[in-house]
């Protein structure tokens, strides 16, 4: 995705921002370590990876309260009910790509 954007805009990416929550199933630290390997040899290798961790937030189906929760304790902080909906915390999104305007290149990706 990052390489497609870089090719489309004919510019090198300088910051790649990924947004992820604890229910995404991906560990931020491992993604940070894997990024240079995955990006090697592509335009994305010129970019710094920024990870934004989203907290898990639930809405209680019983009392409608909204609260933050831990992944293995997804209980309503107000009434203690376990019947909840996830509002945020399952994201695994490429949020934004910043392109350097100084380094325009012809890319083959």
């Amino acid at each position: 995705m990052v390489n497609d954007i870089a090719a489309e805009r004919m510019a090198m990416p300088c910051v790649v921002t990924v947004q992820m929550g604890p229910l995404s199933g991906v560990e931020p630290g491992l993604l940070a370590r894997a990024y240079p390997l995955a990006a090697a040899g592509s335009p994305a290798s010129s970019a710094r990876l920024e990870i934004e961790n989203v907290k898990l937030r639930l809405r209680c189906k019983m009392c409608d309260a909204v609260c933050e929760a831990m992944v293995n304790r997804q209980l309503c902080a107000v009434c203690g009910a376990w019947q909840t909906d996830v509002i945020e915390g399952a994201e695994l999104l490429l949020k934004r790509v910043e392109l350097s305007l100084q380094t325009q290149v012809h890319l083959h990706v």
């Binding site: 805009r9 994201e91 490429l94 910043e98």
Partner: protein
């Protein structure tokens, strides 16, 4: 969430569009799921199942929880009632597919090499070798793993997770991401209950609730048939009525 209707824009990232880009750079707001390629292939698979009125179940568990044994017993019990096909996921060997074929139903083996889960592309490839026109129900037996399979939509209609008695009742607490998204939990190897008194079903359900799961829980033993009826009834309740299947076949 999807990349179509805007539901991936949440209160947590709404401000992105308004954030000014630093001088000397240009910011492109994307807000696309990193697994978009897998998700679109999963949608394709689901459409494929739906077009053939086939109901697809993704069966997940740790290795050795009894997925294949459950499938063998299920195929035997539903013979004559539903036409079943199986997609088998394993790192190596065709052992499980051979066991399923021995029950007289088609089975496609996916060997993933070192990959610890199935993804929608692998399942799509396997579907080329499965004639959906002659099936009502497809089980996708995922690679034995309670972690990575949770991250990949395959195009299934339901997720079923097995938790076997010897694993311990706290598995939902240790693998909450997997258990949060399941539609049914089967506590398997119930025949071992007399020698596994430390497994507390109520505690397993309590951990399941703490993982945010509202999935029903059935305990069963594929070996001696205890509890199989509840599982089979759950399956029957998920499938379209037989008349609808017959209509589709006409």
């Amino acid at each position: 969430m999807c990349n179509v209707c805007g539901c991936n824009v949440t209160a947590g990232n709404l401000h992105v569009a308004k954030k000014p880009a630093p001088v000397g750079s240009s910011a492109i707001d994307v807000l696309q799921r990193l697994l978009a390629a897998n998700d679109s292939e999963a949608i394709h698979n689901r459409v494929h199942f739906d077009e053939h009125r086939v109901f697809a179940v993704n069966l997940m568990s740790s290795p050795g929880a009894g997925k294949t044994s459950l499938l063998e017993a299920t195929i035997r019990a539903l013979r004559g009632e539903f036409r079943i096909g199986v997609i088998e996921g394993d790192l190596e060997t065709e052992n499980d597919a051979l066991r399923i074929r021995a029950e007289g139903v088609p089975a496609v083996q996916i060997t993933t090499g070192t990959a610890c889960h199935l993804d929608a592309h692998m399942v799509h490839e396997a579907l080329h070798d499965l004639d959906l026109r002659n099936l009502d129900l497809v089980f996708i037996e995922n690679v034995g793993n309670l972690v990575c399979p949770a991250g990949f939509d395959l195009g299934q209609h339901r997720n079923v997770v097995l938790l076997s008695l010897p694993e311990g009742d706290d598995k939902p607490a240790k693998y909450p991401v997997m258990f949060r998204q399941c539609d049914l939990v089967l506590i398997s190897k119930l025949d071992l209950a007399p020698v596994m008194p430390e497994f507390d079903q109520d505690r397993a359900v309590s951990y399941l609730h703490r993982a945010g799961s509202a999935a029903p829980v059935h305990a069963l033993s594929a070996r001696d048939g205890i509890g199989m009826d509840l599982w089979l009834d759950w399956l029957r309740a998920q499938l379209p009525p037989r008349a609808a299947i017959a209509d589709a076949a006409d």
